[in-house]
Symmetry: C2
Subunit: 218 residues, 2 copies
């Protein structure tokens, strides 16, 4: 793979770091482009952002974007898949930890809130596209992939509920729907907090209380 023409020190460096400085620089530039695109897409939506705008925001020429990404759609796809992977892996990990199911669900909520807060741009973009399970600006292929990621997380959450039911922690209702309900409820809070964080700060304790405790008395 490494051409003979490469100088010795370069070849040595590559053995060590795997990536040469040049390659690291390229990767960084790529990331800059992705970041600029993310900002613009999440502000204005896929179709209302031009490659020119992305180029300007990233401080490159349009042509350069095409050195890094085949076309606009690829660029977009990569951003969405990034988000989906980030969320899926973080939430899956939480749900795979062993232990008290009640605590696990609470941890899931905490983690989800944290992810939302720390990735507001990504969240806006992701849910604008795949949010209600009604995607529209992306090809069906990608849409399907995104939905499957969401399904995977809900399924894992359902497993936790199921174990919790077996242990008599939770009321014996269909665990899939419990997961759906819990996730949907927390989404409502998170979106509301996303819109206006000052007026509607996200209170995970309140979410838990509404979900887990009795609302209708007697």
């Amino acid at each position: 793979m490494i051409p003979d023409s490469y100088s010795l020190h370069k070849r040595l460096a590559m053995k060590k770091n795997k990536l040469s400085r040049k390659e690291r620089e390229q990767l960084q530039r790529r990331a800059l482009i992705l970041q600029a695109a993310l900002e613009l897409f999440s502000e204005k939506g896929y179709h209302n952002v031009t490659m020119q705008e992305i180029a300007i925001r990233a401080e490159f020429a349009v042509g350069t974007l095409y050195k890094f990404f085949k076309n606009k759609e690829e660029l977009y796809k990569e951003i969405l898949m990034q988000t989906a992977n980030l969320f899926r892996s973080a939430l899956s990990n939480v749900l795979e930890e062993k232990g008290d199911e009640y605590a696990q669900v609470k941890k899931y909520l905490k983690t989800k809130c944290k992810l939302f807060m720390e990735n507001i741009l990504l969240v806006r973009l992701y849910f604008a596209e795949a949010g209600a399970g009604v995607s529209i600006s992306v090809k069906r292929e990608l849409e399907t992939e995104l939905r499957s990621f969401y399904e995977q997380v809900i399924q894992k959450l359902a497993c936790v509920f199921e174990k919790g039911i077996q242990k008599k922690f939770f009321r014996p209702l269909d665990p899939y729907y419990l997961a759906l309900a819990f996730d949907g409820m927390s989404n409502a809070f998170l979106f509301s907090g996303l819109e206006d964080p000052d007026r509607h700060p996200v209170d995970t304790n309140l979410i838990e209380e509404i979900f887990f405790e009795q609302i209708y008395l007697t």
Copy 2:
């Protein structure tokens, strides 16, 4: 308003019906265009539908569309506002009926489900655009208007919860967040049912049980 040139029978007819046959025909054509556009928009999204396509589906010429709507955006706007109004007025009415707050919330859920089922295309479109509170293909003006419609409904629902709390029907938690939680939870079920109605039929009793009853035991 009625020009003198109009013949007698026409003028008489207009006194009675308010609208002449011609006007009724125009209105019907307008509705046909809106219907065709709704179908296409909800299938493929605003930006992936051309005026040509709408014209073909509605069986008119492109130019004709512009006789009825100033431009593509107006056409779109009208469809979204239709939905928003339909939902807001139906749900507001339910929530203004006097009586038992527990029953009112249940009625709200029933009505919402019915609206979803009977207007799947509109729902898909509406939530793809304004769903997560993250609109993107529309101008900010319309986006704000749509969000305010949603807020109004949530506020009304919150009032019902508030009254219910006063009467000790419900656990005394912030009524706004109770409303948000109930609505968010039901949305999750409805979207899931929208995606795959056979595998996930919407069960309002289950939604109520999860929301109102205790989930975490002891």
